[in-house]
Amino acid sequence: MTELIPVFALTGFVILFGLALVFATSLLGPKTKQSKVKQLAYECGLEGEGADSTKVPVKFYLTAILFILFDIEIIFMYPWALAYKDFIATGRGLFIFSSMAVFLAIFIFGLFWEIRSKALEWE
């Protein structure tokens, strides 16, 4: 665990730095009266209902779901790429290639199915 101490130290330093900057403005900045009109969201001058009531297209979450699935498939390719030459060196290159070829065939089928089914269409 000791090799992680620098990472924690840097994270802590960055957070402290950021908080210090944020608090510096609240200390140094001018203090004017806050009014209701001033605190309105920068929209159209009407009182907003807050972002909570915004309706957003479902497309966004569909994109996120498809991202997760493809992201995992890509992460699976990393160890494969790492061991590729080792397998070739031991004469099992065709095996490792075909095992990924099957996986990639599924991946590509999935990708083209998504494209054909218009799941990735933004109008």
Binding site: L10, T25, A41, A51, T63, A64, D71, Y84, I115, L120
Partner: protein
């Protein structure tokens, strides 16, 4: 982190120095960006405050800190305040994991020579090995990918914490965009992994510091005077990586989240003063990381094969300049760092130049480009690389 006080101090100072370097690069880059855009558009840019307008940066920084504090009335205070702080983290953590030069290997020493006089330390220190980076992480690539995928939180927190519809919409757009392009980004790196077979940045750079060497139909081929750079094997991968990095940094031509005409200023509509500036630090930090990764993966990192490699630099300082011991290690590391910085600056300029050259995409074009063009191309690149490696090695081994 270190065995004695000296090593711990050096490591801490080094880390903070790298972070401060990132933070300070921001005003400089903003200045370059403003002057550069003015140059491209045949204007002057900031030129009043100080020589070449350089002091303008200082004036801006002071102005940012003395701005009034503001939270939208319906906003979620804590999330609103924390979002800019979170925006700083991914860039800083990722940049600290990238080697900026070769490690400094110090032998034992008991005095510090400073030109004419020397400081006697009294006792013997060393030997030490200081990596020229914040910290060495064995699985560098996965770590950097993981850390920079956290950038989506800052956007989402900013958008939601502001309680503003423009902000929320901008945040959703931004995060959908970053995650879409992360796929092409991750996939383009598979080609690099296939070639170099390691997650470690330092090993990747070391492989690239030699002459162009590859196996051709089972026999080892070497091309002298050409560096063993990733770009030579992976031109398509490099282009996809660079384009995806543009989208990750949310810069033009991919700056849809803050498309002024549609969304005011996107997720930082409600932010002002230093808090908005912190988002900029995050963005420019991402730019630095992108350029550094580009240099490390495809352009030889801190080496430039025939002229600047760890061996030649060592040789230059020890034989040509006649130095021995620790100064050689120190100076050769610093000169390689200079090589890295030159490459980094070139890529940063490309980032800035592209911003003022290309028009903005429409959102559907942007998503189409990510999912339907870049992802298939990255896949094709991966398959082609695998097939070529198999043909060049397998049957003849």
């Amino acid at each position: 982190m270190g065995v004695d006080l000296f090593e711990i101090t050096v490591n801490l100072v080094k880390m903070i120095f790298i972070f401060v370097m990132m933070v300070n690069a921001v005003p400089l880059l903003v200045w370059v960006e403003r002057r550069g855009s003015a140059f491209i558009q045949n204007r002057y840019g900031p030129n009043r405050v100080g020589p070449l307008g350089l002091v303008q940066l200082l004036a801006d920084a002071v102005k940012f800190i003395f701005k009034e504090e503001f939270v939208p009335g319906k906003g979620h205070r804590l999330v609103f305040y924390l979002a800019p702080v979170v925006a700083l983290i991914p860039g800083a953590l990722a940049f600290a994991a990238i080697p900026l030069s070769m490690p400094i290997e110090l032998g034992e020493f008991s005095q510090i020579p400073l030109g004419l006089f020397t400081i006697d330390l009294g006792e013997t220190y060393g030997p030490y090995r200081f990596a020229f980076q914040g910290y060495e992480i064995g699985i560098g690539i996965v770590f950097v990918l993981g850390v920079s995928s956290l950038a989506a939180y800052a956007l989402l927190m900013a958008g939601w914490g502001s309680a503003n519809k423009y902000s929320l919409y901008g945040a959703l757009r931004a995060s959908a965009q970053t995650i879409s392009y992360e796929l092409a980004l991750g996939l383009s790196l598979v080609g690099i992994l296939l070639l170099f077979n390691t997650f470690n940045f330092k090993e990747i750079v070391e492989i690239q510091s030699q002459a162009l060497t590859f196996s051709f139909l089972g026999s080892q081929m070497t091309v002298p005077y050409l560096p063993n750079w990733g770009i030579i094997y992976q031109p398509v991968g490099a282009i996809i990586f660079f384009a995806a990095m543009f989208a990750e940094t949310n810069r033009l031509p991919f700056d849809l989240p803050e498309a002024e005409a549609e969304l005011v200023a996107g997720y930082h509509t409600e932010y002002g003063g230093i808090k908005m500036n912190m988002f900029y630090i995050g963005e420019y930090g991402h730019m630095l990381v992108a350029s550094a990764l580009m240099v490390t993966f495809y352009f030889g990192g801190y080496t430039l094969y025939p002229f600047f490699t760890p061996e030649t630099v060592n040789q230059f300082w020890s034989e040509t300049m006649g130095l021995t011991g620790n100064p050689v290690a120190l100076l050769s590391s610093l000169s390689l760092h200079l090589v890295f910085m030159v490459k980094l600056v070139i890529f940063l300029w490309v980032f800035i130049h592209v911003r003022w050259t290309l028009p903005r995409f429409r959102y559907d074009q942007l998503m189409d480009l990510g999912w339907k063009t870049m992802l298939p191309w990255a896949l094709a690149n991966t398959i082609l690389t695998a097939v070529v490696i198999l043909i060049m090695r397998a049957a003849w081994s």
